[in-house]
Amino acid sequence: MTLGLLCLVLGVVTMPPANRTDGYVARLLINEAAFPGERGFISEADSKVAMEQVFWVLESRRRFVPAGYRQREIAMVESGDIVAIITAGGSRGQVDGFFRDANGHATTAPRVEERLQRLLAIANRGTPGRFARLLEHAVGLVRGAVREDDRYEPLRRIGEIAVTGRGYSWMTDRDYYHPGGSYVRIPDDNQGSLAGNRFFTLKKKEKTR
């Protein structure tokens, strides 16, 4: 019996440390999804899908660079390492609160860990409920225990714009503004808004470089 399974049976939610890849990525998924009581929360299912789609953005930047684009254009780095994808960009960091410290170690802003510890404390009160299930979902996604299809992969057209499919970016509470570059807002009708986040795909390019 693995430690994770033992914890689940005992009703205790734990989180892998932030210095491990699964712990770091899980922290990002948790950080980007609204939990009950937080602005942007719709439902447990909605927040789980938000985590899945954030994970798919990372995977798409890492493994599915669309024709006509270079990885560096969409990920600010050329790498197959998911932590490098998250921390890419240096001073123009790709993900607010997730960056490399002066020693080059992947780290997070203090508020990220503070919120996680708060969520863990709530999750471990009494019978495991929505908080516990959401935290476990994040870890399960990163470890491959949960597999869901990328809901944005089939997208080929948004309005009049031909798009590549897949999500390549997300933003929180900045829905009113254009995301910049070749990004195209995924509308509500295509589940583009999840747990307080707006997701974006890319304009399709006709020519391969």
Partner: protein, 265 residues
Amino acid sequence: MSKLLLCAMVLWVGVVGAAPVVDEAFTREVVRHLYRWYLDEADVEAQVGKADLPVWSRAMERKLDAGDRSRFAELVFPSFGVKVTLKKTDYRIEELGLDVKSRGYRIIGVVREPASLDAASYEVTRLNLPALREYLFETRNQREYPDAALAGRLRQAVRTQLGEQKGEHICHVGPLSPVSNELWVFWENARTLVRFSSDLDLSNPAVWRQENLTVRTFDIDRQVVLSFSEAPGSNAFLTRHQIGRVLYNCIVLGQRQTLKPSESK
């Protein structure tokens, strides 16, 4: 005052179909929120000479968790190409033994999405535009501040964000909105914006136990771009336009507060 009352009486005209999901007074407050936080000179100028402002509304069906009685709605302002998503929160967090309820609808999203707008699926009403313009002008500096209890909780939350700091700290607290559970603070010494938001009404003490409060900070020197195209794909920035709005609300319309060294931690 009587003038404003008269305005209110004639604002809500031309209802088509069933009653709208929100009333005229609430819709007016939503427009005031947009006017303060989102709309530009160009949006206002484009309405000059028009008699009314169409407003489309509808209730939204969302798949919710068991026992969640929250309601959702949309308001669309086709003249601006703006869609506002609203939520009236009503659910329980079992782990905290907490009922999460808002007294009315609150804004949870504002998006410019003109391409997907279609009047057929909405109830259509019209605001009397001259009266609305007068209302917006009369109330452009109106501000509601936290009461003593909320101000105390806010100061504690700001102190938590300040961490270990020396000396006096100046904070500018933006006004509260009756239609949004979001509050901005400009922490002058650190040149940082702090945004507090929640699914609960901010006047609810439970918010400030930190368990239901989302806090985000933005360094106004480092996390600013003129356009998101300067850092495409990143979610770590605000535009200069956004920061300007926040600073106007915090400094011009907000309350200046001094946190003494003894209060800074």
